[in-house]
């Protein structure tokens, strides 16, 4: 129960909604999954094992050396001080090597563990990023974050604590048993009777302690949630003058947590003491049995001394190992969660990959030159042929839609919320696959184009520009070092963002914190336009920004929009009619279908939906 852990736990619980029913750990499958990684480091593990043996040797042999000293040197009455010094020297040597090997063992194990954990982290992240958009719709980003950070951290603790303890304490136990039998078989057998008793008590107590610990943690979590909520709603509480009532409710939660704590303390104290009493009981037993044996001269006194010391040492590792149970359990649950994520397959896959071809989309390794050639060839003709689409079965969003866009054409799309405008765009970007029909760019089905290539061919400017933490220049070139600084700056000059960026204290190297805070909404939008320009898409989609921008920035953005859409197939989703009046063709959508299309003048003459729309807007402005 580390202090900062409490808040951290609470936040993680909140994020992932992990207060769900607990998952049962599935040890076998979890460790099968991990075994592949462990096999890679087999040699390392053997090394750890060897180091552990040497490291615990001095601690273990101490009572034995003492026994020799007592029986052979002191009790023998030979006044053999030289022999005693030899024993001291051996002991010193042993403890020096223990010191060194314990150090090496710890570092080696951590090295292996960290390597495994970081490669799992990278693999997991890469895997999640490769999933298609529908996956991100399904999974809350909170739970994904928990998988990447806290589940892998639980895995880390498996290596950090559980394995370390298993190696060290497990071997210690084993060695003590061996030593006991070595010293005296009968006495050792007697002691062995104790073992099941101790284990049973330990296990019973541990599970009891787990429930009390869980209770305390849940109550703490509730109390923190209450306080956090009240802190953010404090002005409301004060305005409604409800301080007294909220204080009462807080006291209730605080009191419940206090009670759970007391229970936890009691269990802890009782468990610890029971264990100690057991240990004392066994020592008394050994003294009694051993004492009788010594009297009968079946046993040397040194053996008895060693026995008593070993029994005292015996309890420590058992205690430590049972403490690892919780960690082991949560790590197992974490592993199975991680592997569930790793088992999921993206809905939208590249053709070759889907056909089982192991070849990666060649895009990543392609040189920039080739890429440019490829884009130069693309003309930007788009054909939606008879497409139907739904996110959920039975709720069609788009029905039998046909739309053909000529290279370089500018299309404006209008329609109410839910008419299917955004879905049309998502399909063109292949965030989803159509249920029926096909979408072709320059005659090629989008499903036959590697996604990486498709995504760079079709540029999308969203309402809310998303910027990453990092410098402005890196945001413009998307951290792609193959794009030169000059190229990125040229793009900014092109869209008119250059002046704004140069005004900033560190210019293009200004570091943006999360989501580009520090820039205004308009400035963020300008940066995102520059980003589009750098990647030279042949088709451009603009989800028109409707944010409240000040008039100066709005002008800048309108100009930038105009510049960006030159010589490109452009699709603009409009929220205000004025922005698309000049479009080559205007599409009016309703309930997943195109109901009208034509130029502004044509549509006005047609006297349908569009005309009605237009007249409304005109009349009201004129009032």
């Amino acid at each position: 129960m580390r202090p900062p852990q409490a808040i951290h736990n609470w936040q993680m619980d909140q994020k992932a909604d992990l207060n769900l029913p607990e998952q049962k750990p599935q040890y076998v499958s979890a460790f099968r999954a991990l075994s592949g990684y462990c096999r890679e480091h087999l040699l390392g593990f053997i090394g750890v094992l060897v180091c552990t043996v040497v490291a615990i040797l001095s601690e273990l042999l101490q009572p034995y050396l003492m026994k020799i000293a007592i029986d052979d040197n002191l009790l023998a009455g030979r006044n053999d001080y030289g022999g005693l010094l030899v024993i001291c020297a051996i002991y010193l040597g042993l403890s020096l090597s223990s010191f060194a090997f314990a150090y090496v063992q710890n570092n080696l194990l951590q090295h292996i563990g960290q390597n495994i954990v970081s490669s799992i982290r990278k693999r997991l992240f890469g895997h999640i990023l490769k999933q298609s958009m529908s996956y991100f719709d399904r999974m809350s980003s909170g739970s994904l974050i928990t998988h990447v950070s806290s589940d892998t951290e639980a895995l880390n603790q498996l290596f950090n604590q559980v394995l370390l303890s298993l190696f060290r304490d497990g071997l210690t136990l084993l060695f003590i048993l061996v030593m006991l039998f070595q010293l005296d078989t009968t006495l050792a057998l007697y002691c062995l009777i104790l073992l099941p008793v101790i284990s049973l008590i330990a296990i019973a107590f541990r599970s009891f302690m787990r429930t009390t610990y869980q209770l305390a943690r849940t109550r703490l979590s509730r109390m923190v949630a209450f306080v956090a909520e009240n802190l953010s709603g404090m002005s409301l509480i004060q305005v409604f003058h409800q301080q007294k009532e909220q204080e009462r409710q807080f006291d209730e939660r605080n009191g419940l947590y206090f009670k759970a704590n007391l229970r936890e303390i009691r269990t802890n104290v009782v468990f610890g003491r029971t264990f100690d009493i057991l240990s004392n009981l066994s020592i008394a037993c050994v003294t009694w049995l051993g004492g009788m044996a010594v009297l009968g001269k079946n046993l040397e006194f040194g053996v008895l001394y060693a026995f008593i010391t070993y029994i005292r040492q015996f309890f420590q590792p058992i205690n430590t190992i049972t403490q690892q149970w919780n960690t082991l359990q949560s790590a197992t649950v974490a592993i199975s969660r991680i592997w569930t994520v790793l088992d999921s397959k993206p809905d939208v896959e590249d053709k070759e990959a889907a056909e089982g071809d192991a070849a990666k989309p060649e895009f990543g390794t392609e040189s920039r030159r080739e890429r440019e050639l490829e884009f130069a060839r693309a003309r930007g003709q788009i054909d939606f042929r008879n497409i139907s689409f739904s996110y959920e079965e039975g709720l069609p969003i788009l029905r039998n839609l046909n739309l053909h866009i000529a290279p370089g054409e500018q299309i404006g799309v209008v329609g109410s919320t839910g008419a299917g405008k955004s879905s049309l765009i998502s399909l063109l970007c292949r965030f989803y696959d159509v249920n029926e029909g096909s979408i072709r760019i320059d005659g090629t089905d989008v499903r036959d184009i590697p996604q990486a290539k498709l995504h760079r061919m079709v540029g999308l400017v969203q309402q809310e520009p998303y910027l990453y933490s990092g410098s402005i220049i890196d945001n413009i070139r998307m951290f792609d070092e193959t794009i030169s600084r000059e190229e990125a700056i040229a793009a900014c000059e092109f869209v008119g963002a250059d002046a704004m960026i140069r005004k900033l204290e560190r210019g293009y190297d200004t570091l943006l914190s999360e989501r580009g805070s520090g820039l205004s909404a308009g400035e963020r939008q300008l940066v995102s336009f520059a980003r589009i320009i750098v990647f030279k898409p042949q088709v451009l989609i603009l989800d028109e920004a409707s944010a409240n921008l000040d008039s100066h920035t709005e002008q800048l953005i309108q100009r930038a929009l105009h510049i960006v859409s030159q010589n490109r197939t452009t699709i603009v989703i409009a929220h205000r009619l004025s922005t698309i009046r000049q479009a080559d063709r205007i599409i009016v959508m309703s309930a997943g279908q195109i109901v009208e299309q034509g130029t502004h003048e044509q549509l006005l003459r047609q006297g349908g939906h569009y005309r009605k729309l237009y007249e409304y807007s005109q009349r009201h402005v004129a009032v």
Binding site: L74, L92, K122, L129, N230, F240, I308
Partner: protein, 587 residues
């Protein structure tokens, strides 16, 4: 500012428990140190050949009694102090929460929830650990050390032998104190690296659309990979120190044992001490190792706790800037006009005024509409009316009373405020609506929900008005939250109702219903409506336009349209959007 002495106050009340615990620790250890001595005597008897069967049984039972006695007293001592520690936590958290409820909005503007929570959790826990776990370890180790040394002296072990064997052990706490901070720093670095990785993942999953759109998956994987590698490096850096530390402590223990063995063995051979004393000595050395390591830990804990304690004391000595005057009067707001007279207000001495030269009178029963862009000062004006910030004296009056002279309970009881964000608590919907009077009957809760046009939505929920919100409960949409929060304001049935942009997330049709309902219900009672949308305020008796903290226009809807300016401009823009939406909706 009253300086706070959290811990001193606490110790003044609880010192008898600490004294009791300390004496229990002492008793426990006095018994404990008999263990090696008894075993030593056993050895001596054996060596002298005086051991008999009944004597063996006696010794075994004696050892058992010592063990059980030690354990019981020790358990009692620990429990007492742990109990007191948790009590401290309980009491201090209660005080903190009460303190939080008293602090004004200015305080919350300067202190984020995360920071305040960290006082509440980390600082309190740090202090608790040092006064419970810390006390237990120190008391136990000190008592054990004293008792053991005393016992060795009584048992006839020479001073110089004791000194030689115990001195290496005393290095243990010194090493803990020396290496502890380094270990802690490095482990903080690991935590930080972990935090960075989590943030990167958060950012990536939030912006996954953009990443995919630019086919930048690989670049982003590399970025993420770097944060992972950093954790690995930091973790290994931590292990280098911590494993050194972990190996060093037992090593010092063995050095002490070697000293005892070499020196003590020599003295035994020379006949200066008995074999029993020698056995006892080695057992004492083993006994002392663990407690001494804990003392080191405690020293580190206490150092951290001292900083926490200072922060807590500092926090508790802060006072709210909104203070009820000593002669504050309860004022009946039903027939009180609101008079704002030459009000200029800035949040800080050096900041730009949020409001300038505001003159405004709302007669009892009137409806006032306020419109303006984001940041024009609308909400600031409301905060001053509610006195969550203090206006300059004499600038805001209800009837004849200055707002600063009115008892807070009567002021805030007389105004129903509906904020924009629709903040709801994680309790039932019913408790949220009946927030002002929790015992309100279900009928009136339902009536308020009907007025706020949220009744039908609630009726569809499985537990209707008893449905729990938030946390593990249900999440409402923005519009539903706003309407629930509106019902909370309506049910208060207060002389003055303030809607602070309270229907911004509600669709146009529902908004119209709500506004009509409000007009009907609030007939003859003072109502202030702040809005972005003109449709929400066009029927008000008076409309003021705020721009940059100044009233630029005032009048009725018709007058303002005729005047031109910002109001007419806003109207033109909004009407275009509205007709567009409704026309497209019909098609």
């Amino acid at each position: 500012m009253k300086s706070q002495r959290l811990l001193a106050d606490f110790f003044r009340k609880t010192w008898p428990i600490y004294v009791l615990s300390l004496s229990l620790h002492l008793t426990s250890n006095l018994i404990n140190v008999y263990f090696p001595r008894v075993l030593g005597q056993f050895t001596d008897k054996l060596q002298a050949g005086e051991l008999t069967r009944p004597l063996v049984v006696d010794y075994s039972l004696l050892l058992l009694a010592i063990g059980i006695g030690t354990v019981l007293f020790n358990g009692g001592a620990m429990y007492l102090v742990m109990y007191v520690g948790r009590k401290f936590e309980f009491v201090v958290r209660g005080r903190l929460f009460r303190h939080f409820t008293q602090m004004s909005e200015r305080f919350y503007a300067g202190n984020g929830v995360g920071k305040l929570l960290s006082y509440f959790m980390n600082d309190v826990t740090a202090v608790r650990e040092s006064i419970s776990m810390g006390f237990n370890s120190t008391a136990n180790a000190t008592m054990l050390l004293l008792a053991a040394v005393a016992m060795m002296i009584v048992g006839g072990i020479p001073y110089y032998l004791i000194a030689a064997s115990v001195l290496p052990l005393l290095l243990i706490p010194a090493i803990v104190v020396y290496l502890g901070p380094a270990i802690r720093n490095r482990s903080l670095e690991v935590q930080e690296a972990l935090g960075t990785m989590t943030e990167t993942a958060e950012e990536q999953f939030g912006g996954v659309r953009v990443t995919k759109k630019f086919a930048a998956e690989e670049v982003m994987e590399q970025r993420f990979g770097r944060t992972v590698d950093r954790i690995r490096a930091k973790q290994l850096r931590l292990v280098r120190v911590s494993s050194c530390f972990q190996a060093l402590v037992p090593f010092l223990g063995t050095i002490a044992l070697i000293a005892a063995l070499a020196f003590g063995g020599y003295l035994t051979i020379a006949g200066t001490i008995t074999l029993g004393s020698f056995v006892a000595l080695t057992l004492y050395v083993r006994m002392l190792m663990n407690p001494l390591q804990q003392i080191g830990n405690v020293i580190n804990t206490i150092q951290r706790a001292r900083a926490s304690l200072e922060r807590l004391n500092e926090l508790l000595s802060q006072r709210s800037d909104i203070v009820e005057a000593d002669d504050a009067q309860a004022v009946e707001l039903t027939n009180a006009a609101i008079r704002i007279d030459n009000l200029t207000f800035a949040y800080g001495p050096s900041s730009h005024p949020a409001l300038r030269n505001i003159h405004l009178t709302v007669r009892p029963g009137q409806t006032l509409g306020i419109i303006g862009r984001t940041g024009s000062g609308k909400t600031t004006l409301m905060k001053l009316l509610l006195r969550t910030y203090d206006p300059p004296p004499g600038t805001i009056r209800y009837g004849d009373a200055d707002v600063r002279a009115i008892a807070l309970e009567s002021l805030r009881g007389g105004i129903a405020y509906v904020p924009q964000d629709g903040f709801l608590f994680s309790t039932t919907i019913r408790d949220n609506i009946a927030f002002y009077r929790r015992e309100e009957p279900l009928d009136s809760v339902e009536a308020a929900a009907r007025s706020a046009q949220i009744y039908d939505n609630i009726a569809e929920l499985p537990d209707r008005f008893e449905t729990r919100l938030g946390e593990r409960g249900l999440t409402l949409s923005g519009g539903q939250r706003q309407r629930t929060s509106l019902a909370r304001g309506i049910i208060k049935n207060a002389p003055i109702l303030i809607l602070d942009d309270s229907v911004s997330a509600v669709d146009a049709v529902t908004e119209q219903h709500i506004i009509e309902e409000i007009r009907r219900e609030r007939k003859g009672r003072t109502t202030i409506i702040i809005a972005h949308r003109i449709s929400a305020i066009r029927h008000a008796d008076m409309i003021v336009v705020l721009d940059g903290g100044v009233i630029t226009q005032r009048g009725t809807h018709a007058e303002l349209l005729k005047q031109g300016g910002l109001y007419a401009e806003l109207y033109a823009i909004q009407e275009e959007g509205n007709s567009h939406a409704s026309a497209a909706g019909h098609s």
